[in-house]
Symmetry: C2
Subunit: 430 residues, 2 copies
């Protein structure tokens, strides 16, 4: 971890910069996969699964028996933990339901918004060493609360042709009962275009490697909605003198273990904290199975000593962190100073991993500075808000003449006429 | 207008298909413009303005004097009409403000969402024959309500180097006080990258021709957020026997006059309505200045006779119209059947043009079937919703052990440790 003491203001942009991502050649490798799935459907999916996941599949869809088996394989303690997380996430996302209030903008003119579910959604869950069943909670619960009719999930099989049992257990729990053994760019293509066994969806959610990310970008350009643009995960910790070094080190490492491109930034005004945090990191690294990942990502990360709180606030908002931990004494006061972030963790007892799994907030969040303009996933991500309006005869008689004037001023005569024919009719009716 | 009577179910997809858009060669022409603006800033903007808008500018920014002049040029009646629209739009968008409710997901665990303004937003308003000041109301009012600090607007100048006075008047009214005389792809580039005189923004809103659309797509790929993907405007009218043919014809023409690629679809179960609507269209076309546009777009449009209401509902939801006019007797009953649309106009006295200008709803809406997964612009479009969480000591003691289990099950030991170090500390405190 690079320690920087009292940097100049001119160094800020560089010190807060993210690792540059280069995706062009990846897109060149992804495009033919998308084309193949579009043309050959399931046949292409099975070919790619054989090539990339090294397993030959007869059925792409997870069977009832496989769900049953998974249910029996997940141990009771994990089931309980998942249930606690489920309850919290459900409670928080339920609170995001919007009511349909009718607004009388003027006499005889009623307007309202109604949240309607996105009918068909697809979730992608990566395979690999970390079976991200927590992401199924984060995506499946709001999809279900929103009322999305078709909810499907794609995830790559192991070389034995099976899916991790915690993934299948959680999928069932959240009511995603169509799970397909397909990973990578081919899974994204299948959900965007539809195949013989996989239904087409209108919006695709979920994390993935750079091939998945590139495929999501490509199908987005073609019209399928996606949750948000992707980038490596990141955390910023803002710490004052009350922050225990061991807590901070643990929070930084929890982010750093994600992968070698994870980014970790510490801001503090407390000089004595820096050597303690560095020492704690070394100590804690000793016992981490993913220490190699963590070391590499820490090599690109920074601990920055700043002169005062005001400067910390400025740097904090400039960075626009995906995860922002405010490990400070006056954390509620600091919360008011946040202008941009994905999710904020307040005080010394709110580590990021609590939000990653179980506090109730969503862990699908904008990375790479996207928090400046994007929100994390929420119930809103699974609905579209449709506006309605209804004018009475009085309504159009009151408002119509103004609309006629505006339409003429925009040189749109037919827009005016749509009002005029109605006003004329009402005039005849007297 | 192509009249189709009782089509087969197999014809549905074709009859409801949108005109195909081809953008590849446009992107090739737009990319060098973006590059030039990125490298040469204002110099490039002035060169492009000279080339495309045929005017040499010294200052890109509209001056105080120009605003003053515009104010005096807009006639009083138009000002009043704009004010009425302003009030309605403001009232409806104000009702979309979300309150920050703290949710206790479990004992000692608090979660909440807070809407924070996107700090810097840019609005694009096209030039040409129709000065779209109404779009400034639709974008500027929610931007101001959201509290976006930097709100700028780009629009191309006329050959006299001036901006339409209604545009400047409306910009002032909604509090967009930085207006720049730049149009086309170069304006999008300027707002995405920033130049000497034009500040960089985080999100770009507004309609435009295919160059503007391509430029928005390109900067989106690079990380600047945009309002939504674009396509030609469209309306679907669902009419029963109570719908007056003259109203329907006027509504179809109001959409058709937008441009030759506008799309217009009429669904009805009332056979006798079709010849009446066709005749009314011919009659009303005679007096339209933009009749040429309308005739061309009507040539690609369809009036479809269906056998019953159930089929109409199915076709209506399959189409996912940007504007959906329900010109039916039981319009409130029909409103309940809408599963997907941008904005819905209920009954015989709610023409689309009312919503285009002044009912209060937003007129920036998802086209091209995007209504299946996207909402129109609203107050939400100008904020990001940041989640916060705060755990007390009791909170982490209750929830922590579950998170530890889940982290281990995902093979993320450092995620577990971030909880464990805190639980250990609390254990020592007793």
């Amino acid at each position: 971890m690079k320690v920087v003491r009292y940097p100049q203001q001119e160094e800020k942009a560089d010190l807060l910069s993210r690792p540059v991502m280069e995706a062009t050649d990846i897109m060149d490798r992804v495009k033919p996969i998308l084309e193949a799935v579009k043309e050959k459907g399931d046949t292409a999916l099975k070919e790619f699964t054989e090539r990339f996941d090294r397993v030959e599949l007869t059925d792409l869809e997870v069977s009832y028996e496989e769900f049953e088996e998974a249910y029996s394989l997940v141990d009771q303690e994990l089931k309980e933990a998942i249930q606690v997380a489920y309850n919290n996430i459900k409670r928080f996302h339920e609170s995001q339901k919007a009511s349909t209030a009718v607004v009388h903008t003027m006499n005889g003119v009623q307007c309202w918004r109604k949240s309607l579910p996105i009918e068909k959604v697809g979730l992608y869950i990566p395979g690999g060493t970390a079976p991200l069943f927590s992401t199924i909670l984060m995506l499946g619960i709001p999809a279900s609360l929103a009322g999305c009719k078709e909810r499907i999930l794609c995830t790559p099989p192991g070389t034995d042709g099976k899916i991790n049992s915690a993934i299948l257990y959680t999928a069932q729990l959240v009511g995603v009962d169509k799970v397909f053994k397909v990973g990578g760019a081919q899974a994204i293509a299948a959900m965007a275009y539809g195949t013989e066994s996989i239904p087409q969806v209108y919006k695709i959610f979920g994390p993935g490697n750079q091939y998945v990310t590139a495929a999501k970008q490509a199908v987005f350009q073609e019209g399928t909605a996606i949750d948000m643009p992707a980038g490596p995960s990141e955390v910023m910790v803002v710490a004052d003198k009350t922050a225990p070094a061991s807590f901070i080190a643990a929070d930084l490492l929890a982010q750093a273990e994600h992968g070698i491109d994870s980014q970790v930034v510490l801001l503090t005004t407390e000089e004595s904290l820096l050597p303690k945090v560095v020492a704690e990191i070394e100590q804690q690294l000793k016992n981490l199975p993913r220490a190699d990942f963590a070391r590499q990502s820490l090599a690109n990360s920074r601990a920055i000593l700043l002169k005062d709180d005001e400067t910390m606030v400025e740097w904090m908002n400039d960075y626009a962190a995906e995860h922002l931990i405010l490990s400070v004494e006056n954390d509620e006061e600091w919360a008011e100073k946040v202008e941009t972030a994905g999710s904020v963790f307040l005080g010394h007892y709110s580590p990021e991993s609590i939000g990653d799994y179980a506090s109730g907030t969503n862990h699908t969040l904008p990375t790479n500075g996207y928090a400046r303009a994007y929100s994390g996933v929420s119930l809103d991500s699974f609905v579209k808000k449709v506006t309605f309006q209804r004018l009475s005869k009085t309504g159009i008689q009151t408002l119509g003449p103004y609309v006629e004037k505006m339409a003429i001023a925009e040189n749109l005569q037919a827009h005016k006429n749509a009002v005029s024919v109605r006003l004329e009719q009402l005039g005849k009716e007297g």
